[in-house]
Symmetry: C2
Subunit: 329 residues, 2 copies
């Protein structure tokens, strides 16, 4: 299959727009940025850095749920009802694995298995996760960069009040994020390194955007890569935080509950998110329903863009991306 992408390399001289993202929530803004830049024939400037702290190994297969969600979303292939997985996928492999007595609570579609089989195979041949991800996204005709936060395995471990320490997907999928999170650890993070591709992308970027992903479960693993916070902060570019909390609720997932249980804030709010990033980032995107928190966030030395941040349609995503790029470029 030839996609023609091979013939249009990203313009190496253009300054990159960096988006840090986890899974479903972050993928929405990532798609907005991608579509907006694509419409300007600038998608080669976009570099999405995905969380791999929630990666898992299942029956020897290497699964990177956040990278896959980002990849399927950018390829226009995501199951929009779930926000993850491939559209119109079937579950026959997984059902049969159940017949063989294997655990199958982590849903994987039949087409999806192809991703994991190829990833596992290429990794076993010595390719780095960055190279494998590059190969997969090219095959799906995605013409921006999609980089894992590092090539080394990092595993988010969730300390819960009810069940002790859990592997991330056991907490998140098997137990449906119902446990009280009292701590987080990122196993392997100390040995992780900044990949050459990320170092290159973060050389004089135009902007660095923290997508509306869970700051604890999606962004903190990325920042746990040694040197990553310093590298982000050393940039002259604006660091822009898009609040994943709107009206006191997480747009998706357990971010609000974790904010409380980790004891950082009494009431989950956009302001609480701003407190998390205070002193690190300098720009903040606040939803109009939370406009009353603008002054308090500005007091934390943020420049604040107030706009509608709830992305229901692709038009919402593109519009938000466009506003952020215009406001903070």
């Amino acid at each position: 299959m030839t996609t023609g992408i091979e013939n249009s390399p990203p313009r190496e001289n253009s300054r990159k727009i960096i988006a840090l993202a986890g899974g479903v929530g972050g993928a929405k803004l990532a798609l907005g940025l991608y579509k907006h830049l694509q419409s300007q024939k600038r998608s080669g400037e976009l570099v999405i850095i995905g969380n791999t702290g929630d990666d898992l190994e299942y029956l020897g297969l290497q699964i990177s749920p956040d990278l896959d969600t980002l990849m399927y979303t950018l390829a226009g292939r995501v199951n929009t009802a779930n926000g993850w997985g491939l559209q119109d996928d079937t579950g026959n492999t997984l059902t049969m694995l159940g017949e063989y007595g294997q655990e199958n609570w982590f849903w994987l579609g039949d087409q999806d298995f192809a991703t994991h089989i190829v990833r596992t195979h290429l990794l076993s041949q010595g390719q780095r996760l960055t190279e494998v991800t590059e190969e997969l996204r090219r095959r799906l005709a995605i013409d921006c960069q999609l980089l894992p936060m590092c090539d080394e395995p990092v595993r988010t471990l969730v300390e819960t009040a009810e069940a002790g320490q859990l592997a991330f997907q056991e907490y998140f999928v098997k137990r449906r994020a119902n446990d009280t999170v009292i701590g987080l650890a990122f196993e392997g993070a100390a040995e992780a390194t900044i990949s050459p591709e990320i170092r290159q992308a973060l050389t004089d970027p135009a902007m660095i955007i923290f997508c509306p992903s869970n700051p604890y479960l999606s962004i903190r693993p990325i920042l746990a890569v040694p040197g990553m916070p310093e590298l982000l902060r050393s940039s002259a570019a604006n660091l822009v935080v898009v609040s994943p909390i709107v009206g006191g609720q997480a747009l998706k997932g357990p971010a609000a509950a974790i904010m409380s249980s980790l004891g950082q804030v009494e009431t989950p709010s956009a302001l609480g998110i701003a407190q998390v990033y205070a002193g690190f980032a300098q720009r903040f995107v606040l939803d109009t329903v939370d406009a009353d928190q603008k002054a308090a966030i500005e007091a934390l030395h943020f420049r604040v863009l107030v706009t509608n941040t709830v992305m229901k349609t692709d038009e919402d995503k593109v519009r938000l991306a466009q506003e952020i790029l215009q406001e903070f470029s």
Copy 2:
């Protein structure tokens, strides 16, 4: 899933009925033997030894096509239109692998992938292929033994006039067995060993049946395991050959063409098959349409059963199995 099989181990003291088989052709008689013995609550006496010379590795997955055909057939789950694969299986994983630029000429169904994923995983954990196959067949509620010919990898290589040496599945599936076979090699066979399970099964068996499988591509790899011919021949049991050639044609596959191209016989025939096994086996099952060859086969020191050997229905399979057991017990 509990099948209850765990509670009914094969009676260790009963003498085993051994069936050597390749894929589709051999699986028909294997099913007949299984169903017949099951109806007498004797299926625990049946031991099927399957060819693994046509095993392959695909994207890191360990695939055993003949073992799978036997397993799916015995489980009543085989796609009866093809004779291999699982019934009502879908091909979404394979299609997606094609999108990722992977070769996908070897058809594998989505449910089928589960078999390969589990097999590969258990092998990687240090289980022998025999143990893995035992686990899989138990999960599919098959209550006879199904043993690979050995635990070590053996690969049938096909020397062709048109394309030189080919891996088995490249010859058989990709090039549709259209090349002229001028030689065979069994890579790794010299290092293979008789498994404890096969040695146990072949201790004083009641009968050893060569199913109507291709003698070159399905049976010879089994006999290439060092010590296997001697172990079979040392038994006091009758060695029974069921001719895979009926009316000068192979029931399935390229056996007839290979008989000619390997130069062993001018005209493919049941008699030619008898010549292949002469001096090794002592019993022969001949189709009624080839009854005129009975005397010539008897002259090779075979006792011959003439009957209808073409198995179209399950009833055909059971009847043939029953006749063989009655005639040669």
